[in-house]
């Protein structure tokens, strides 16, 4: 399950991903700070982070869940990608997906994606905590 968060859109952004095995056991919880980015970029970065980790773990079959309808439809080829930055991220994601034997990318409601959402926000909070307060 993947998610991106951007406070301000664009603003301080982070992404999160949680990887489960086929039994539902949590294998990894990941989060990353992205600096200043839009919501869409954060969503794609969350997807990329998740995919890279799945491949590192040797995964072959994958179900990706995201609460971003735009990401899901673009990755499923239902809508085109027009933003240049998103095109690069989209192509990168496609390249990673091709290394899998099978995959599905499905849309889930926000409430079902709470873990990834929490991780995405943690990515931002951890980075902001490191910044000295007097700056």
């Amino acid at each position: 399950m993947v998610d991106g968060a951007s406070r301000g859109n664009p603003g301080e952004a982070g992404c999160g991903a949680v990887i489960f095995d086929e039994t539902g056991k949590t294998l990894r919880e990941l989060c990353r700070y992205l600096g200043r980015a839009t919501n869409n970029v954060a969503e794609y970065e969350g997807l990329l982070m998740g995919l890279e980790e799945v491949l590192r773990l040797g995964g072959k079959r994958l179900r990706v869940e995201s609460d971003s309808e735009l990401l899901v439809r673009q990755m499923n080829g239902l809508y085109r990608v027009k933003d240049e930055k998103l095109i690069r991220l989209h192509q990168k994601a496609q390249a990673l997906l091709r290394r899998l034997v099978a995959y599905r990318i499905i849309h889930v409601r926000r409430e079902q994606n709470r873990i990834a959402d929490r991780l995405a926000n943690e990515g931002i909070d951890q980075a902001l905590r490191k910044v000295p307060k007097n700056l």
């Binding site: 951007s6 919501n39 969503e43 609460d67 735009l70 439809r73 085109r80 027009k82 959402d117």
Partner: protein
């Protein structure tokens, strides 16, 4: 009369205590009201954001349905194209298909725009909703505490008021009426001492003749300036100080 004035002074102490406690209780109730108002504004804000999101989502659905319809139309026309032999009809149909494709392209742009907007709104709504939940949780605990404090004060006021009844019972109706009127008009200070010939309520000089009368305590005297009930308070003489 001296005794009556002493009782009045005791009554005044009790009334001031009641007034102070009621003031404290009012502050608590006001705090509760203010916080509830702030919370209501936050709730209204979230409700408004949710309504706006729903409105946008409705728009998205309409555009997507339209896109699907247009997609079906394009497919139908393409199928017809396979059956047409006449070159002019074919060109006309191709033109129609191209127009629909162009319209679809525009529609898709619009749908993407709406989706981006929806996701940004959903993100903000999620944050505001989480903030509101946190505030409501915290307020729930604080409100209980404040209400308990207000209830405690009310209980104390009730007890003090019961005590007041027994004090007031020792005074005549006219005297109480006069005292209560001065108490309400003079900020909770109806009975004051005269010390060194000065009214300790308004700090104006009391005429010597009146000062003497007050000292005798044969009848009720009011300050000529502030109209408070006066009683004589002996000062420590300079001899004794030495």
């Amino acid at each position: 009369m001296r005794e009556q004035i002493e009782i009045l002074a005791s009554l005044q102490n009790v009334d001031r205590e009641i007034k102070e406690k009621n003031g404290a209780k009012q502050l608590l109730l006001e705090e509760i009201r203010k916080r509830e108002e702030e919370l209501k504004l936050k709730r209204d804000e979230v409700k408004q954001l949710r309504a706006e999101w729903k409105e946008k989502d409705k728009l998205r659905q309409e555009k997507e349905h339209l896109l699907q319809d247009q997609g079906r139309k394009t497919a139908d026309k393409r199928m017809r194209m396979n059956r047409i032999k006449n070159i002019r009809e074919l060109q006309a149909l191709q033109h129609e298909v191209d127009q629909i494709k162009q319209a679809n392209s525009q529609l898709e742009e619009e749908v993407i725009g709406v989706l981006e907007d929806l996701e940004a709104r959903a993100s903000i709504l999620g944050q505001k909703d989480a903030e509101l939940s946190g505030l409501e949780r915290a307020w729930g605990e604080q409100k209980a505490g404040l209400e308990a404090q207000a209830a405690q004060i009310e209980k104390e006021v009730a007890q003090t008021s019961a005590g007041r009844q027994s004090i007031a019972g020792q005074l005549t109706g006219d005297l109480i009426q006069r005292y209560e009127m001065i108490f309400s008009r003079r900020g909770g200070m109806a009975v004051v001492a005269v010390s060194d010939g000065i009214c300790q309520g308004c700090f104006m000089n009391i005429p010597p003749q009146l000062s003497n009368e007050i000292r005798k305590s044969e009848r009720l005297h009011l300050c000529p300036s502030c109209h408070r009930i006066l009683y004589y308070k002996p000062t420590v003489s300079s001899d004794k100080q030495l």
